[in-house]
């Protein structure tokens, strides 16, 4: 008996008054971590990570010979190379990240409503925004812990198996890669939260999220291709026209959060990437081929990061405002 009491005390800080916001966050995190969908996703993500680790390790030998320029950043190659059978780590994350965000967020508000707990919760002496903020913070915490754990696990396994220690710069690049991944998932999480505020049924909001995801990953590319074909300049077109054409297509593609994410991660994980847009011959002439320092790489992806942050904040603000204006009735 005393043992359980002690355990309780440890778990809850039972002798202190905990701020209600933290109480909700604690509960939400434990809900998330104990839910089946999280366990299933964790299993899938873990499995794919080890799969990509395996292909990376089996191919790392050939990767070094093929390209000497990045020989200094051998460790980062673990995250990016693949032999074509299995995608690399960061491609997996860009694919599974949205799924993770959606599954953690699609029923945040509407399930409380359908279960009838929302009005009970709202009648407690807490501010209304505590709920939606706590939901966001808890899901973000879960994602952050998961990604840092995965990323560092990957790094640790890489060290053990290859025997290569990462340089400090490589380490920081990996940390930034993880942070960008968290930001990317946070965007999808907020989109899912927004839909969970708008739609009363969890199933509807899940479908809406998946529809948006499919549109952005599959159909948007098709549409851009169609546009590209329609406005393609003739073979006789001047360089200026071709340049303009390329720019339009790239601008269209860069609306996609997925594109922003892959641009950002590629630049961070491959120091040799010097530009994300078209380069003219004048710009290349005289450039010494070599990797960029971390600061320059970050500067290069700054627009992408800003775009992702803006999209995330936009979704959150929309859901916040919608939720605050909603009249809460039971069921």
């Amino acid at each position: 008996m005393t043992a359980t009491v002690k355990k309780r005390k440890k778990l809850w800080k039972a002798d202190e008054v905990v701020h209600p916001f933290r109480v909700i966050v604690h509960k939400e995190i434990s809900d998330q971590v104990n839910s089946w969908r999280f366990i299933i996703l964790l299993f899938i993500i873990g499995l794919t990570c080890f799969g990509s680790m395996y292909t990376a390790l089996t191919n790392i030998g050939s990767a070094v010979q093929a390209n000497d320029q990045e020989g200094n950043f051998l460790f980062l190659k673990l995250y990016t190379i693949s032999d074509g059978t299995l995608p690399s780590f960061f491609v997996f994350i860009s694919f599974l990240g949205p799924l993770l965000g959606i599954s953690l967020g699609f029923d945040t508000v509407n399930s409380e409503q359908t279960k009838g707990t929302l009005s009970r919760l709202m009648s407690q002496p807490i501010h209304r925004d505590y709920l939606i903020n706590a939901k966001f913070v808890s899901a973000l915490t879960v994602i952050s812990v998961l990604f840092f754990a995965l990323g560092f696990l990957f790094m640790g396994l890489g060290i053990i198996i290859t025997g290569l220690p990462p340089t400090p710069e490589e380490f920081w690049r990996v940390v930034f890669f993880i942070l960008v991944s968290i930001l990317y998932v946070a965007f999808w999480l907020n989109l899912a939260i927004l839909f969970s505020v708008i739609f009363r049924q969890p199933a509807t909001s899940a479908l809406a999220c998946i529809a948006v995801w499919l549109f952005l990953t599959v159909f948007y590319n098709l549409i851009v291709n169609l546009i590209a074909k329609a406005i393609a300049p003739s073979a006789m077109a001047s360089t200026h026209q071709v340049f303009r054409y390329q720019e339009i297509i790239m601008t269209l593609m860069k609306i996609l959060p997925g594109e922003l994410y892959s641009d950002a991660t590629t630049t961070i994980l491959m120091p040799s990437v010097r530009s994300l847009g078209p380069l003219t011959m004048e710009q290349i002439v005289g450039a010494v081929p070599g990797p960029l320092p971390l600061g320059q790489s970050l500067l290069l992806v700054w627009p992408q990061l800003t775009g992702l942050i803006a999209a995330t904040v936009f979704c959150f603000v929309l859901s916040y405002v919608t939720f605050m204006r909603r009249e809460i009735r039971s069921r």
Partner: protein, 324 residues
Amino acid sequence: MAENIIELRDLTKKYGSFTAVDQLNLTIREGEIFGLLGPNGAGKTTTILMMLGLTDPTSGSVRVCGIDSTSSPTEVKKKVGYLPENVGFYEDMTGLQNLVFTGRLNAVTGNEAMEKAEELLEKVGLTEHSGKKTLKYSRGMLQRLGLADVLIKNPEIIILDEPTLGIDPAGVREFLDLIVRLSREQGITVLFCSHHLHQVQQVCDRVGIFVEGRLLASGDIQTLSENLFSGSPYTVEVGLRNPPQGYHDQNSARWLRDLLGNIEGVGKVSLNYGKYIVECRRDVAEEIAARVVEAGAGLNYLNKKEYGLDDIYHRYFEGRGNNE
């Protein structure tokens, strides 16, 4: 007289062109059990939401415990426990965990919340189910857990919105007894919203009748019936075995009216499901009996009716029907 703990002044709530609550004035005194009685969609829940500051009134003011609910809802929610209609709990948590969670939201330490939760579970008779997930609770158990959930914050006022919905009659009686006992023991003011007349009548000190966003009348049941039936405070039901011109015929009602005509105080006579309803200003049951027997109409039923909430309620709806 105790002070007014809830004061609503000219409270109005409009949804577009629809007026849910219309110029509502209501005061509830400390320590009383007030029944807010009205049909579905009368605006009861909207009124409650405005009291808790969960929705803003279009105009008018709400003061609960002397605090303005619209401007400082959090302060009000510290003092008011609200049991919503169809209350829900986190299904993958046990009853005890749900209560402790609510307790901790009210800035109580984990240990205190635990003690209080166990004490309340015993009060509402759920101790043996405290370790069970609420998914497995029955409707009645959920309502009792809801009551415990409301009480864990040591409220000054509790608001119960249709708390007896979906509970069997024995459960309802138990639940109502529990509410009355708790209210009397701890001096908690109770606002009980329902469309069940008899339950309200059983437990409430005062009643307000609330229809289409307007409070039609309020007061204790005695006052209400006196006001309402001031014209004809007594009603006698008469049943006849062999009425002269058959039942279901308004002529027979006229016949009875003529028969009783010269008794002083007899008012309207009508026929209702085979029984004559005689409204009168004083107690004339004895004289009516004498007249009917004299006429040889075969008196087989005579009932002096006392007014309950049921009649008050119906009287209002009749009145409303006539006006429209």
